[in-house]
Symmetry: C2
Subunit: 216 residues, 2 copies
């Protein structure tokens, strides 16, 4: 599939080697972690709200309470969704060259509300299933009121760029002879042992989708 | 110290029990992780850029290349800085009650550039020292050109709110009798073994500020 050239708004100006507009690179980062930051403008003031997201094909989705100020503010307005995963802290021999290893994607677009109740339920099903395969059918089914109280937003991933940094520090050549410890402190998301709800029915088994959950 | 009442823009409308405007609560979350998302507006389009931040007293600071579009765009304009730490994924008995355990702070304000070179260097020193105590004096000192090529931004933390969710899922009372596994999958930032730069001088010791580094 031909990929259109990036718009001027997402084309990377500096560090071109860190940029990517390849859908497979974008999708891998978007799918690696279900958390993003939504940027929007309300009364001239920018806001950034952390939220959960998921992807279906070339669209990104996010959701929240229908009473949410954020979701009411973003409908049919320009938004920015940024996914960012920290992979390490980079310590160099000069303060100036300290850095972060990371994978991030910035997506620009106009947020559209998913109006159709059937589509909305289908998107929410995909959301739960993408994090916890097999869970949706185990759950108490959603009521019409719950679907109504949930707003699902979407936009196409068609104006987006990925930025990635990895590897050791990049110091000035003459600084490599200095006796200063440099390197990378790798960081990642650690999943700890699941904590069952004390009110679980006795003997109810912990599903595989809980023990197998990973992110980052 | 008397804390002024929250502005209408950061006052929490829903889930009041999750909100806090107490500086000690705000500062603890801001200090727990050096990564935030900066929201700003350029040509009517919101952008969200992940960046490193640090705090000195009741001001938040962030920095970047003086060539950065983001930093040039935010000077003397309204911005939003959001810090968010994910503590767990909350699995309920109904899709509607699934949630995230988290600690987050949203700060609104007008970004001001730190112009004075001496102040700028002092702020950058605090930044490095806040992450790696004792490191600044071990480093090759910054050059005037490096200080010039670095932009430091700041704003007061005076219009901000914290949101925190913790604990087990909150299901509908009648759903607790269903044989569905519910609970929390705790997540946290894991620090892995530091990876020394292959170009380190042989025998240079790994400093305590590397082995002791923690975040989240």
């Amino acid at each position: 599939m031909a990929v259109p050239p990036p718009s001027d708004r997402v084309r990377l100006r500096r560090y071109h080697e860190r940029g990517a507009h390849d859908p497979s690179v974008l999708h891998a980062i978007i799918d690696a972690i279900p958390l993003c930051s939504v940027g929007y403008v309300f009364d001239g003031q920018p806001y950034v709200t952390p939220t959960l997201h998921w992807r279906e094909g070339d669209h990104i989705y996010w959701h929240g309470s229908s009473a949410s100020r954020m979701l009411r503010a973003v409908e049919d307005t320009p938004v920015c969704l940024t996914v960012s995963i920290t992979d390490g802290i980079v310590l160099a021999r000069a303060g100036f060259h300290h850095s972060i290893n990371y994978r991030s994607v910035m997506m620009l677009g106009t947020a559209r509300k998913v109006d159709d109740a059937e589509e909305k339920e289908s998107r929410l099903r995909t959301f739960v299933e993408s994090m916890f395969p097999g869970r949706w059918d185990l759950l108490r089914p959603p009521t019409g009121q719950e679907i109504k109280a949930t707003t699902v937003m979407t936009m196409p991933i068609d104006e987006a760029s990925a930025k990635i940094r990895q590897g050791p520090p990049g110091d000035d050549e003459e600084d490599y002879e200095l006796p200063i410890w440099a390197g990378v402190i790798p960081v990642r998301t650690q999943i700890l042992d699941p904590v069952p709800d004390p009110r679980n029915i006795e003997g109810v088994p912990m599903p595989d989708h809980v023990t197998r959950f990973r992110m980052g």
